[in-house]
Each structure stands twice: as C-alpha cells, then as structure tokens.
C-alpha cells in the first residue's frame, strides 16, 4: 500500500465528513425558518414548501459535491494505477 492510496482514502473520508457539517447546519436553519413562516401564515404553506424544497436541494448539492469528490478519489483517482 503506497502513500497515495492511503492519503486518497483519508481525503475521501475527510471530504464527506467535514463536507456534511455545513449543509446539515444550513438545512436545519432553512427548515426552521420555513416552519416559522408556515406557523405565521398557514395559507401560504404550498408556496413556502415549494420554495423550501428547491432551497433544500440547492443546499444539499454542496454535500453531494463532497460525495462526488470522495468517489472520484476512490474510483477515478488519476494518481493511482
């Protein structure tokens, strides 16, 4: 096992673990704000949840990027032969 492989695996694990923190906090804030808005204005619930879903997907994309980087490191690493 050479160093490049070890560092790649560590890099993949770090990318997913630390990359999940930010989106988790962000999604929590977004859902909390949407709950608050629906509680204040229940008649706007449809529009709010539609906007919420799109926003959550946008935030989640950041975590997905980290996952893609991790998979690239594991499966398509240009430095491992």
């Amino acid at each position: 096992m050479d160093w490049v492989k070890i560092v790649s695996i560590l890099g993949a694990a770090l990318a997913v673990s630390f990359g999940a923190i930010g989106p988790a906090l962000g999604e929590g804030r977004a859902v909390a704000a949407a709950m608050d808005a629906i509680a204040r204005q229940p008649e706007a619930a449809n529009t709010i949840s539609r906007t919420l879903f799109v926003g959550l997907a946008m935030i989640e994309t950041m975590a997905i990027y980290c996952l893609v980087i991790a998979l690239l490191l594991l499966f398509a690493n240009p430095y491992v032969h």
Binding site: N46, V54, T61
Partner: protein
C-alpha cells in the same frame, strides 16, 4: 468491493459501436413515454374518460407550476419542461423494475439533459429578447459583471449535472452496498427513500430549468417578482389586467 459508479457496462455491440446499459434503459423509457403518450391521446373527446381526465390533471399540474414559477403563459415552455420532468421522473423510478439501473445514475445522461437546458435557455432568451437583448442580460447590473455572469451560466449548468448525478447515483450506490451486506428486507426503507429523492430531484431539475429560462427572458421576469407569495402575485396581477386598469387610473 462495489463496482465504480463512474464506469459503464456494455450491453451489446452493433458492429464496432458498443451500446451501454444506460443507453438501452434510456431508449426503453423513451419508447414507454412516447408509446404511452400516443396510446393515451389517440381518442381525445370533449367529455373526457377517466383516463383522459387523469392525463389532463398531470398536464394542468405542470402548467400551473410553470405559470407560478416563471410568471408567463406556459404554452411555449410546456413541451420542454413537461418532457424533462416526465423523463427524469420515469428514469429515477425505473429502479423499481428489477435489473434496471436508472440511466440518470450515470454522468453522461445527466450531462445531456443539462446541455438541453443550457441550449434552451439561449434559444428562449434570443427568441423573446433578440440576440442583442439576450447578450445585454450578461451585462445586467454593469459591464464589470460580464465575466461573472458568463462563469455563472457555465457553473450552474455543471451543478445541474452533478446534482442529479450525485443524488441518484448515491441512492443506487448505498442500496448496492446494503444489499451486499444484508439481502432481505433491510434495503426496503432505503429504496423507498430513494424513490422520494428521485421524485424530488425530477421536480427540482425542472424547476431550475424554469428559473434559468425565466431569467433569460428579461426584466419582466426578474427574480424580484418571484417572492414567497408568487402564487398570489400572479392572481393579483391578472385581476389588475382583466378589470383593474380603469379603476387604477381613476384612483391615480
């Protein structure tokens, strides 16, 4: 070790051309959608059967979404957006059929879909505003923003690719790993979650396509008009257009 999600498995060869499994699945879905559409719309009548009523419900739901999101009449955009949504939805749910892997779980299909959106944005932008008007939207707040706007156009297309690919592929990947650990019943909740993710991602892909196209249409459709209560705004706007113009000028 699970197979790499970035490689493609070859289904069969036509001469020297290798046909991969996502291509076969894509053509299967296209045949299903086109054939189903042809069969269901063969006998349309003014007094709809229950089948036609269900179909009209789907079309009207997509129309309403386009009208709410883009603040325009949905007719020119319905074929593109509706096809995108139905194709991605069917593709994501095609994992329900045993042995079929969703074609959207591979980078190539997603790249093709995002390329369609990218070209459609330019096409609708040029058609509505003219070539000069469309190019002027890149210099929208000021001339300094031109490089940023160009970069944004490219990166948002790229993120469209990676978002769909990452979400669908990670679902397939996780189910593959869990299946190799425990076979029976344990993957079922994960598969249900995967179906939910697939539906939400199909919806989000088409909503983002709508937002990008609406952004290329010009000032009338600037994001400022799309507040949280976009729904009401449309109704209020239409009420003004239908009967309120006179009263408004009298009041003023």
């Amino acid at each position: 070790m699970t197979q790499s999600p970035l490689t493609l498995s070859v289904a069969f060869h036509i001469g020297p051309v290798a046909i991969t499994t996502p291509v076969v699945a894509t053509w299967g879905i296209m045949l299903l959608l086109a054939g189903g559409g042809w069969l269901l719309t063969r006998r349309l009548s003014l007094h709809p059967s229950s089948r036609q009523a269900a179909l009209e419900l789907v079309v009207e739901a997509i129309e309403t979404q386009i009208r709410d999101t883009m603040q325009v009449e949905p007719a020119p955009y319905l074929p593109l957006i509706g096809t995108l949504f139905l194709f991605i939805f069917t593709a994501n749910w095609s994992s329900l059929v045993p042995g079929v892997e969703p074609p959207t779980a591979h980078l190539e299909t997603d790249a093709a879909l995002a390329l369609i959106v990218f070209l459609a944005v330019s096409y609708f932008g040029i058609r509505v505003q003219g070539l000069r008007g469309y190019l002027r939207t890149f210099a929208e707040p000021s001339m300094i923003m031109i490089p940023l706007n160009v970069v944004e156009t490219l990166t948002r297309t790229f993120s469209l690719v990676v978002r769909l690919f990452g979400n669908v592929m990670s679902g397939v990947f996780v189910i593959g790993i869990v299946l190799s650990l425990v076979g029976l019943l344990v993957p079922v909740p994960l598969m249900a979650l995967d179906l939910l993710t697939g539906a939400v991602q199909a919806y989000i892909f088409s909503v983002l396509a709508m937002v990008f196209i609406a952004g290329a249409l010009g000032d009338r459709n600037a994001p400022g008009n799309k507040d949280v209560l976009g729904n009401r705004y449309v109704q209020g706007d239409r009420a003004v257009l239908v009967d309120g113009t006179e009263t408004k000028s009298e009041g003023g």
